[in-house]
Symmetry: C2
Subunit: 104 residues, 2 copies
């Protein structure tokens, strides 16, 4: 069993969002991204099979990728295809946990 | 894109832990379990391929399955094989997010 506390291991930076690789295996990849207000995960997509879940652990922001930004907040679990455009903009400090399966 | 707020959709019960199916696809299954103090996910395992992540969204408790209970708290991301014994006991109210890939 692997154990990582992302509240302790994940940092914030005024320069850009931070990225922590929590887990990588043939089954899933887990990443923790932390954003200061205004920082964002640019909209992107990959033309491959699989899905990505975005779990908002703390904070508030907006999901990007659709025609309109969609408000998101702590407790939100977002799931989309990896091939579907997805991104996130932080309105407050945001701790995000991303799980990709199968991993890319 | 699917969006579920587990802080709002997930409930607690004094009778037993609660279970909310957040997402099920060929790629991953996501469940939210909520526990009152003392409630637990009994130790279990399945003799199949794949991994399970346990994300402690809120609260404190103990991971079960090894020789000794392991303290866990909010922000912890635990990953183990589905074939590896795993369980959880809550010490406070605990909100747990479980992701299984590939889904079972």
């Amino acid at each position: 069993m692997k154990q990582v506390n992302v509240f302790e291991a994940g940092s914030f930076s005024d320069q850009s969002f931070t990225r922590l690789l929590v887990h990588d295996s043939p089954y899933m990849k887990i990443l923790n991204f932390n954003y200061r207000p205004g920082q964002q995960m640019p909209v992107h997509s990959h033309d491959i099979e699989g899905q990505v879940s975005l779990v908002i652990l703390e904070g508030e922001g907006e999901f990007l990728g659709g025609p309109e930004p969609i408000p998101v907040k702590a407790g939100d679990v977002l799931v989309c295809d990896i091939a579907e455009p997805h991104g996130l903009r932080a309105r407050t400090d945001v701790r995000l946990l991303v799980t990709i399966a199968p991993p890319i």
